[in-house]
């Protein structure tokens, strides 16, 4: 099975290595490889656990198995955080450092990445303990004040520990953002005038917009740097109000006389709760920017428009949260209504980075001598899902449709379409593409990879489509037992889920057998020639 990522066209800026005198490149490569592999195995273990939990949720909804009511909601809470943050988010946070190194931006210090890793691991342990063992079932958004109205199912102490655990995951995200900025805004930019202003400008795409004012010896900064850096700034800022909310939850857990305004708490939650989608999507976009040109055999077709789009993302991403609160328009409370009115167009503005990225990727593939293998097929499937889920996102951003869609299974179908069928397929594609060079051994069986691909696509699309139809029919979200009118489609979706699970078992077998293979004769050969195999 093909194990190498083909090189990009000769002379492209993304092939330029950067050797930091403080830490020689081979040393950084070896340590980054070990670090990224550790994140990949940890996040994949979280996928297994959260995937099983997700299956239990749907089996109960289909009335196939029995689960205690509160346990179902505790499982739902663990599944949401586990799948979204601990699997997809964590994986993409880890792979960031590999992609950055490959485009000539090696990690400059491992202090922050290690903090990212260990705080996420500690946070996940706390979340598992408080949900599955102590019964915290407030959902992954734990909408205030629900954590303090458990109806006797969990204590305020458990709420405090849960909030602390999520806070640790937040610390992980903050450490990741800082590490990415430290890696990007660095000498690796090879700025002609090496000032902080020049470095910041180059990192955020000003070199594409004003090439005579922001010059680099690279010719231009590699495109993947843009989404990584934009995401780092946005997530850093977006995590802060959420961290404050978590601290306030902890305070209330020890002093029940303390409370927060419910609307304010909702705004603090969603100031993070929407941008966190981009903790997954932007690194995913960067990874597409890196991998697709290599399979297409040409540099990414992109110009100034992409730089403008990412600057829009940098600013607008912080001003879209209120679209999650469209339905909160209390009488006489004009602030929330005004926020809703403003944040429909700002949310629409966030379509631009996706639309222009898809255009660039499509133009890069168009009439190219594209190399088809399991990795590149997964990427293509993920890109098409990006388009499909993006269209759903526009619908969700439209306030006028909310009375039909809000808190229905349509929303659940949409975010599984985005998280699993866009980011998830990218993650699998990245595993097929990067693991050979990371592990120093090729995949065992390409045919099993194809079975994994098609089983995942058919299984997952069948399942999310059922959920979306149910949502349009008014099926409520977060119901342990759905009304009987939705039972038929739930059972149909279980058939698709069985196919999806079978495909993942095939993947697990392929991975297991691959891990048992002999490594390449010279594992370091994957680093021959600087940043390219």
């Amino acid at each position: 099975m093909s194990t190498t990522i083909p090189p990009i066209a000769a002379g492209a800026p993304e092939a330029l290595p950067y050797d930091d005198a403080r830490m020689p490149l081979p040393l950084v490569q070896a340590r980054t490889r070990r670090f990224v592999l550790r994140v990949i195995w940890s996040s994949t273990a979280f996928l297994v656990v959260s995937g099983v939990l997700g299956l239990l949720l749907r089996l109960r909804q289909g009335q196939v198995i029995e689960l205690g009511d509160n346990f179902w909601y505790a499982v739902m809470t663990a599944h949401g955080l586990g799948a979204f943050i601990a699997w997809a988010g964590f994986f993409l946070m880890g792979i960031t450092f590999w992609v950055l190194m490959k485009v000539g931006f090696p990690v400059r210090s491992f202090v922050l990445p290690e903090l990212m890793y260990w705080s996420m691991m500690a946070g996940v342990v706390g979340i598992v303990l408080t949900t599955l063992l102590s019964g915290f079932g407030g959902s992954w958004v734990f909408l205030y004040p629900l954590p303090f109205f458990s109806a006797g199912q969990w204590s305020n102490t458990v709420t405090g520990i849960f909030a602390g655990s999520v806070l640790l995951a937040g610390v992980s995200i903050l450490a990741y953002c800082a590490a990415v900025l430290q890696t990007c805004i660095s000498p690796a930019l090879q700025a002609r005038k090496d000032t902080l202003g020049q470095r910041v400008g180059l990192t955020f795409g000003f070199g594409l917009l004003f090439p005579s004012r922001f010059k680099t010896d690279r010719g231009r900064v590699p495109y993947p740097v843009l989404p990584f850096a934009v995401n780092a700034v946005d997530m850093f800022l977006a995590t802060l109000p959420f961290a404050a909310l978590l601290v306030l939850n902890i305070v209330q857990s020890v002093n029940n006389g303390f409370s927060i305004n419910v609307l304010l708490a909702g705004n603090m939650l969603w100031a993070f709760g929407h941008p966190v989608v981009y903790l997954l999507l932007f690194p995913a976009a960067a990874t597409y920017y890196y991998l697709v040109p290599r399979y297409a055999g040409r540099d990414l077709v992109a110009g100034k428009a992409v730089a403008v789009a990412w600057l829009i993302a940098l600013t607008m991403n912080l001003f879209v949260w209120a679209h999650h609160l469209y339905m909160n328009y209390p009488d006489g409370e004009n602030v929330q209504q005004t926020l809703g009115t403003i944040m429909q167009p700002t949310t629409y503005a966030l379509v631009l980075p996706s639309a222009l990225s898809l255009f660039s990727i499509a133009a890069t593939i168009y009439k190219s001598n594209f190399q088809w293998n399991v990795a590149s097929k997964f990427l293509i499937a993920g890109i098409i899902s990006w388009l499909v889920a993006g269209l759903q996102g526009i619908i969700n951003a439209t306030a006028a449709f909310q009375e039909t869609l809000h808190n229905t299974l349509w929303i659940v179908g949409h975010f599984h379409n985005m998280a699993f069928l866009n980011m998830g397929l990218l993650i699998f594609g990245a595993m097929y593409a990067f693991l050979p060079e990371l592990m120093g051994r090729g995949w065992w069986n390409e045919r099993l990879g194809s079975i994994h691909l098609w089983g995942t696509i058919v299984g997952a699309y069948g399942w999310v489509t059922c959920q979306m139809i149910q949502g349009l029919e008014g099926a409520p979200r977060r119901w342990a037992v759905l009304p009987d009118q939705y039972l038929t489609l739930t059972h149909v979706s279980l058939g698709f889920l069985a196919l999806l699970v079978a495909a993942q078992l095939v993947f697990a077998y392929n991975l297991w057998t691959t891990l048992r293979r002999s490594p390449f004769d010279d594992p370091t050969a994957s680093f021959a020639g600087g940043t390219q195999r």
């Binding site: 009511d69 509160n70 909601y73 079932g137 909408l143 004040p145 109205f149 458990s150 109806a151 305004n261 419910v262 609307l263 297409a296 040409r298 077709v301 992109a302 110009g303 428009a305 469209y326 339905m327 909160n328 328009y329 209390p330 209504q337 429909q344 629409y348 379509v351 631009l352 639309a355 222009l356 499509a362 133009a363 593939i365 168009y366 009439k367 190219s368 001598n369 594209f370 388009l387 499909v388 619908i395 439209t398 306030a399 006028a400 449709f401 909310q402 009375e403 039909t404 869609l405 809000h406 808190n407 229905t408 139809i469 349009l472 029919e473 008014g474 409520p476 979200r477 119901w479 009118q485």
Partner: protein, 179 residues
């Protein structure tokens, strides 16, 4: 069974998905030509020049959608005109207090929705099982939403905002609309 808005959303979405799939397949199909000529048969600079125009096109489409829909946001469609009857709906773990429990077809009914504890939502389902209203119930706040019933029958209120371990049992089964 979908409402007319639900059906409209589904149809609009499907049209764009099919268009997107057709374009995607055409682009992927074009790589057959790329294989024959080594990927040299395309003017990449022309594609790069087209990118801003694609951006303008997308912005235009979104501006049209915004102009058509923003005035239909729930807070813009509600007015202060006096209504025939007000129904107070209060969510409390895990049930609804509804007063009065019966209205008539053709009346302008204002639902004033609030909560005594956590966030809930009042979703109203007609006798055919279609969701015809969806209003948040927020503690310390009230949201008013109006509706004129056209069909008599027994309507059901379900909670649509997750509110705890009996959330799926938070149903008011018998809101009556008489002829």
């Amino acid at each position: 069974m979908m409402t007319s808005l639900g059906s409209g959303i589904a149809i609009g979405y499907l049209i764009f998905v099919v268009l997107g799939l057709i374009i995607s397949i055409a682009i992927l199909w074009s790589t057959r030509a790329g294989r024959r000529d080594g990927g040299q048969g395309v003017d990449l600079e022309k594609a790069e020049r087209a990118e801003p125009w694609w951006g303008v096109f997308v912005v235009g489409l979104l501006a049209i959608l915004l102009g058509l829909t923003i005035w239909q946001a729930p807070w813009f469609t509600e007015n202060d005109d006096p209504k025939d009857v007000q129904v107070k709906v209060t969510g409390i773990q895990f049930g609804f207090l509804v007063q009065p429990t019966q209205v008539k077809v053709g009346q302008d009914v204002e639902f004033a929705v609030t909560s005594k504890d956590v966030n809930h939502a009042m979703a109203l389902y007609n006798p055919k099982g279609q969701m015809i209203m969806n209003v948040q119930a927020i503690p310390d706040y009230t949201i008013s939403r109006s509706y004129r019933f056209t069909e008599p029958g027994t309507y059901e209120i379900r909670c649509l905002e997750f509110c705890g371990y009996q959330h799926h049992k938070m149903i008011y089964p018998a809101f009556q609309v008489t002829a």
